[in-house]
């Protein structure tokens, strides 16, 4: 004799009405909440309007034997940690093919150590990557970047080859088309998708003079 079909869990239907209503309401609220969180996770930041040719006014010295990668980063943006993780993966896979620079913005009026954050230390730990403090956001504006984690790649001839993000969503690491595109450019000179969505905090604060604003990094 076995008891697998025992019906000891059955309850009178009338006693189930209140739990059923509570469960239905709970499922609806939970589902809606999760949907909102996911919708934010995939809300893209404003894309860069990067110059099609290397801007000679840049303080970065472009090398000609490798592709040049520039990442614009907000020192405090939590989403940018994922972008730096992905940059680390790109550098590891495209060793000797990419000359990478991470520029941390430093708006006017903030303290001198405002940029020395976990993001800075994370970037510093990536071998071969050059770090730069972008005083008064000058380089970010030169490259037309608006969102932290924006990556711009110029080929060996100084032509714009890629502009976009390298994470699949906000603050999430993992396979992404941006990473594959940059590695393809470094190895083969071109990529199927030269532009991808960028996910991160807005580089610039809400000032009246600036019309364009990006969605804050929320997930």
């Amino acid at each position: 004799m076995r008891h697998d079909q025992t019906n000891i869990s059955s309850s009178p239907a009338r006693g189930m009405l209140l739990p059923a209503v509570a469960v239905a309401a709970w499922l609806a609220v939970s589902g809606a909440g999760m949907w909102i969180v996911l919708a934010h996770e995939f809300r893209q930041g404003l894309a860069a309007s990067a110059p099609t040719a290397w801007p000679e006014k840049s303080v970065i010295e472009r090398v000609k034997d490798r592709v040049t990668l520039v990442m614009l980063a907000h020192p405090h943006c939590p989403c940018t940690k994922a972008s730096l993780d992905e940059l680390s993966a790109i550098i590891a896979r495209g060793k000797d093919l990419i000359d990478a620079h991470v520029l941390f913005i430093r708006p006017e009026g903030v303290s001198s150590d405002w940029t020395r954050t976990e993001n800075w230390r994370k970037a510093e730990a990536i071998p071969g990557v050059h770090l730069l403090v972008d005083e008064k956001d000058a380089e970010a504006r030169l490259f037309g970047a608006k969102t932290s984690g924006q990556v711009i790649v110029y080929d060996r001839e100084g032509r714009l080859a890629f502009s976009g993000g390298i994470t699949p969503s906000r603050a999430h690491t993992g396979d992404s088309e941006g990473v594959e595109a940059i590695l393809s450019i470094a190895r083969n000179g071109a990529a199927a998708r030269p532009a991808t969505a960028v996910f991160g905090c807005p580089l610039f604060g809400p000032r009246p003079a600036r019309a364009e604003r990006s969605e804050p990094c929320r997930s």
């Binding site: 709970w26 499922l27 708006p107």
Partner: protein, 433 residues
């Protein structure tokens, strides 16, 4: 071999399973509360603020951890508290746990390590030994992947354009784990079923044995009464015609028949104690002890006994049976302090860890602790009948009654230094039979 009734076997199996469900519900209630706080801590640690240039505000992750994590936790914990062991509770817990997994993965930035929370949760849900719970949990994972695959394919697959069947590959690993967990659950239930059947057989054997001992004891009474009665008559009528040796033998026959009669009566009362229906009531122990002390008045009126009765609580149980327990313990205390010029008997109680423990301590002759295991055995005696009268049924009855209440009995003592007898009862009415 005793007959196994399917109903009793199912009942025992159900009781066992229900106990597991209730325990697992409570464990999950604790776990989910812990996960909620852990989620908030993770959010505060990883992403406390979001930034816009030089301006910052509280990150959405913190709100999600507090509010959404709270929603995921609230209903499972509420049901585990108000409806532990019910079908709806464990399925809601399964859904809540898997949604918590999704939230924690999200809060940690989709780290591959946090995906192990999904697999750990499935293993924990297997504690219920109810495989449909795993199906519910896996359905949540499947629905999450399908919906993400449709609306935000990058979140699951890293690329925007993927084959529509790719979600199967992800859900497959959940199904892979489920497969082994379901096998484990079915094996475990089969073992539980076997235990229930064996316990039913054991109960049936005990019932048969008790019926047999009752019947034998009962049937022995009549011939014994004849032996006792005719021996007494012989003693009266042939007193003068017998020599001293024959009179001594006849006295022995009468005394032995009397003793055997008492043993049979005790055996019958012991047997009745195991068979009688238990009444359930709230029993105040204080008045019960006072009554038991008063009942001993005839034996104690010529002695100096210092009674110390501490505060005694109310317990759940059968009033008549508990009265017998106290009467036996106090009677023993009085009996075994007989050699003391000033006897001390202390009765007290304490409640802790879901049970009430009552003790009766005396300064009597005590006992050697190496024989403590014999104390509660039927007809077991540590002192000779000449020194202290009795058949050795009292403590056996105490143990049987307390066991029927779901409690425990034990004793401590030292030769000539007194003894202490303890019994504990669950504070809830559960556990009695």
């Amino acid at each position: 071999m005793p007959v196994v009734t399917p109903n009793r076997s199912s009942e025992l199996f159900g009781e066992h399973l229900r106990g597991i469900w209730v325990r697992t519900d409570r464990m999950f209630a604790g776990l989910m509360l812990f996960q909620w706080f852990a989620g908030i801590a993770v959010a505060l640690l990883i992403a406390p603020k979001t930034w816009e240039g030089e301006f910052s505000r509280t990150h959405l992750h913190v709100w999600a951890a507090v509010l959404l994590g709270g929603v995921f936790t609230a209903l499972p914990v509420a049901l585990a508290t108000t409806r532990p062991g019910s079908l709806v509770t464990r399925h809601v817990i399964a859904v809540g746990q898997m949604m918590t997994s999704a939230l924690l993965i999200h809060l940690t930035g989709g780290r591959i390590e946090s995906h192990f929370h999904v697999f750990g949760s499935l293993a924990f849900l297997a504690f219920y030994r109810d495989w449909p719970v795993l199906i519910t949990a896996s359905a949540v994972v499947g629905a999450d992947h399908i919906l993400r695959g449709v609306y935000w394919p990058q979140s699951v697959y890293g690329v925007a354009s993927i084959e529509p069947w790719r979600w199967v590959e992800h859900v497959w690993w959940v199904v892979f784990e489920d497969f082994f967990l379901v096998i484990s659950i079915l094996q475990s239930r089969s073992e539980m079923s076997g235990i229930a059947e064996r316990q039913t057989r054991l109960e049936a054997s005990n019932t048969e044995l008790e019926a047999f001992s009752y019947s034998v004891s009962h049937d022995l009474r009549t011939p014994l009464r004849h032996i006792s009665g005719f021996s007494a008559q012989l003693q009266r009528h042939a007193q003068n015609s017998l020599d001293d040796k024959a009179r001594h033998h006849l006295d022995q026959i009468v005394r032995s028949a009397d003793r055997m009669g008492r043993l049979i009566d005790d055996l019958l009362s012991f047997s009745r104690m195991g068979r009688s229906e238990m009444q359930r009531a709230t029993v105040p122990l204080g008045p019960l002890v006072k009554e038991a002390v008063q009942d001993l008045h005839e034996e104690t009126k010529t002695r100096r006994i210092d009674w110390t009765i501490g505060p005694l609580p109310e317990v759940k149980g059968d009033p008549a049976m508990l009265r017998l327990v106290l009467a036996n313990l106090l009677s023993n205390a009085v009996k075994y302090t007989r050699t003391r010029t000033e006897a001390r008997v202390e009765i007290g109680a304490r409640s802790a860890n879901g049970e009430t423990t009552v003790f009766v301590r005396d300064n009597g002759v005590g006992f050697d602790m190496q024989y403590v295991d014999n104390l509660f055995g039927i007809f077991q005696r540590l002192h000779s009948a000449e020194a202290f009268e009795g058949t050795g049924i009292g403590l056996a009855n105490v143990r049987r009654i307390i066991h029927r209440h779901g409690g425990r009995t034990w004793a401590e003592g030292e030769v000539d230094e007194g003894a202490a007898f303890y019994f504990s009862l669950p504070t809830t009415a559960e556990g009695g039979r």
